[in-house]
């Protein structure tokens, strides 16, 4: 027969066991239950702990106060919380600069990477790749650079952002086909492109049935040529093929003389005006093309873009034609610029022709090995895209339930109950 004290002791032990089991059950339930929104939570500075917390137990409204554009991982995490049903708002303790950087392969044979940078914040921006600093813009602004070698990612860093990009693709450049009559314009156009590194195939007409050819000539299609340059009327016999090529994605440049032919009227960006002479002696000036004779582009079509004008008269215009591009170049004696221009005229002539071809060339992209680095070319724009615009707010202290503390308390309660119950049993000699 148990004494009264012994019965009370055993009842106490049972109660402790029940408390321990209840605490353990509560812990298990908290571990497997769906997170429950728990009011408004504000985080600032390092967001990692807040993100972990919100993932385990989302607040009704999650607010972040940023002092710089978040890295892509943090931004994606916030976006995921928002998409999971939570309300995520952001504001900044200081204005975050809008900036963009992009690195892409130039459509030119010298394999350079073209980096374009723009920053609207007015703060200093430094441009660097994995090998070191490249350039600095003291007051932001825009800059375009052609870099022969880029190591890894290109980063544009300011006080409130780091934009990252890298050339994800390389381009496939096929030969350029040049069609023209034997003459200085044909010769020096071919020479300029070859000296710039383009592979050139050409058909240069010398007599009615005689042409000097170079390279492998075949059907005009995008599998064979990056661009076709029709310098004059000798290309008229191929006008249908050239139009088909342009519509299929090819790039076509119509020289001043070629544009005069009605055969290209269907694809030319505009009509052709009467020839104008160049300004005498101007090929040695700072605007050397004003010294060149040309057939101006008249009445540019609705979809045409005027790329160069002289005294308001269009000299170069371009337009899209289905999948391809067609450019109408009024100049028909650019060779004079190269031969009779200033000291840098030959190099400038080369670069100019190469740029024209690059602007229209069919150059399919080949992806490089992915995963070099995470890309964040427009940090602020991406943040707005992920979370919406900034929402100014008063920073309020967290009105949250501390889930971690409750978890700890439940654990301690269960452990203490079990220990007390075990100690009581051992002291009375039970097992």
């Amino acid at each position: 027969m148990l004494s009264r004290a012994e019965r009370a002791r055993r009842a106490g032990e049972g109660a402790l066991r029940v408390i321990a089991m209840a605490a353990i059950a509560t812990l298990l339930w908290r571990a497997i239950r769906s997170p429950v929104a728990t009011g408004v939570d504000v985080a600032r500075g390092d967001l990692r702990r807040a993100l972990v917390r919100w993932t385990l137990a989302p607040a009704t409204e999650m607010r972040v106060v940023l002092d710089a554009a978040p890295d892509p991982g943090t931004r994606d995490w916030l976006r995921a919380l928002a998409r999971a049903g939570g309300s995520v708002r952001w504001s900044s303790s200081r204005p975050i600069g809008a900036a963009a950087v992009v690195a892409e392969p130039a459509v030119e044979p010298n394999a350079v990477t073209r980096v374009r940078l723009a920053s609207a914040s007015g703060e200093a921006v430094s441009l660097a790749d994995d090998a070191g600093a490249i350039d600095t813009l003291a007051r932001g602004g825009a800059r375009e650079l052609e870099l022969g070698t880029v190591v890894g990612a290109v980063r544009a860093s300011g006080a409130t952002f780091t934009a990252t990009s890298y050339a994800r693709d390389s381009v496939v450049l096929r030969p350029v086909l040049v069609l023209g009559a034997a003459g200085w314009e044909s010769k020096f156009t071919i020479a300029a492109l070859e000296e710039r590194g383009w592979r050139v195939a050409s058909r240069v007409q010398v007599a009615p049935n005689i042409a000097v050819t170079q390279g492998a000539l075949g059907a005009i299609d995008t599998a064979r040529y990056a661009a076709v340059i029709a310098l004059d009327s000798t290309a008229v016999s191929l006008s249908n093929e050239i139009a088909r090529y342009a519509r299929a994605g090819g790039g076509v440049i119509l020289g001043g003389s070629a544009s005069r032919s009605g055969a290209f009227a269907g694809i030319a960006p505009g009509r052709v005006a009467a020839r104008v002479a160049g300004v005498a002696g101007a090929v040695t000036s700072a605007a050397p093309r004003t010294g060149l004779g040309a057939f101006p582009v008249s009445s540019p079509g609705a979809g045409a873009v005027v790329l160069e004008s002289r005294d308001g008269v269009p000299m170069i215009a371009a337009q899209r034609l289905d999948a391809g591009r067609v450019m109408q170049v009024g100049y028909d004696e650019t060779w004079r610029w190269r031969m009779a221009g200033g000291d840098e005229s030959a190099a400038a002539h080369r670069a100019w022709w190469s740029r024209l071809v690059a602007a229209v060339a069919y150059a399919p992209l080949v992806p490089r090995e992915p995963g070099l680095t995470s890309i964040d070319e427009t940090p602020l724009a991406s943040l707005v895209d992920a979370l919406g615009p900034s929402t100014p707010m008063e920073a309020r202290p967290a009105a949250r339930t501390d889930n971690a503390r409750i978890t700890w308390m439940l654990f301690i309660l269960s452990a203490a109950s079990l220990l007390a119950e075990w100690t009581s049993r051992r002291l009375r000699g039970a097992r």
Binding site: G183, W184, K187, F188, V206, M339
Partner: protein
């Protein structure tokens, strides 16, 4: 009229090439006798018009080697018998002309490798554009229009043993990349082509055809 007086003669504007028109230009230089082959331009112009459809100016032009006008004529013919000494301005212009893609065709009117023209012209050209080397007989210039599978055609002066009594198997050239910047001949084409175009009818084979090749090469490469 002395050479210096001739140098100062202006080039009539009508001789400047209009768009797309080829003008055969002869180089006028301070030293020597630059105008030793006055019938060659007309003869080659006649051949070019005869065999091709290229727009060609009916008369040639004379351009001072030291003048900026040189750069209006990307192919220039230079010949003579006498020693050649370029002035500094001429040398600088020839160098710039070659670097920009022009082509200078130089013919030794003596056909004599021990002659004064050959020695001095080669020396001057080497100083201006670099050393001359043998042009392979498979070079595209020999197939630019007419086919010359054996290289440069021989001249009657070579075959008759005049001058240096040699038949020159190759032309010489200074290159810029894979293009000819200076083409040098010891074969005396200046004499071979120095006759009135009407007299072609007396030839069984037109001996100016290689001249057409030189011009077509210059205009297409």
């Amino acid at each position: 009229m002395s050479v210096n007086e001739r140098t100062r003669l202006p080039i009539p504007n009508s001789r400047f090439p209009t768009s797309g028109e080829f003008v055969f230009a002869t180089a006028q230089y301070e030293s020597g006798d630059w105008d030793s082959a006055p019938l060659v331009p007309a003869n080659l112009i006649d051949s070019l018009a005869r065999y091709t459809s290229l727009p060609v100016a009916p008369t040639g032009a004379i351009v001072a080697l030291a003048s900026d006008d040189l750069f209006r004529f990307p192919l220039v013919f230079l010949t003579g018998h006498l020693p050649v000494r370029f002035t500094d301005a001429e040398r600088a212009n020839v160098r710039r002309f070659a670097d920009r893609g022009g082509m200078l065709f130089v013919d030794d009117h003596n056909h004599d490798i021990d002659g004064a023209f050959h020695k001095t012209a080669v020396e001057e050209l080497t100083r201006a554009v670099g050393p001359l080397s043998q042009l392979p007989n498979t070079h595209p210039i020999y197939s630019a229009f007419f086919k010359f599978p054996d290289g440069p055609p021989n001249t009657s002066h070579e075959l008759n043993g005049w001058g240096d009594n040699l038949v020159h198997a190759h032309l010489l050239a200074a290159m810029r990349g894979d293009r000819i910047a200076v083409l040098y001949s010891n074969k005396d084409y200046s004499s071979e082509w120095g006759y009135h175009p009407d007299n072609k009818r007396f030839l069984a084979i037109d001996n100016t055809k290689f001249g057409v090749n030189i011009i077509v090469y210059a205009l297409t490469r």
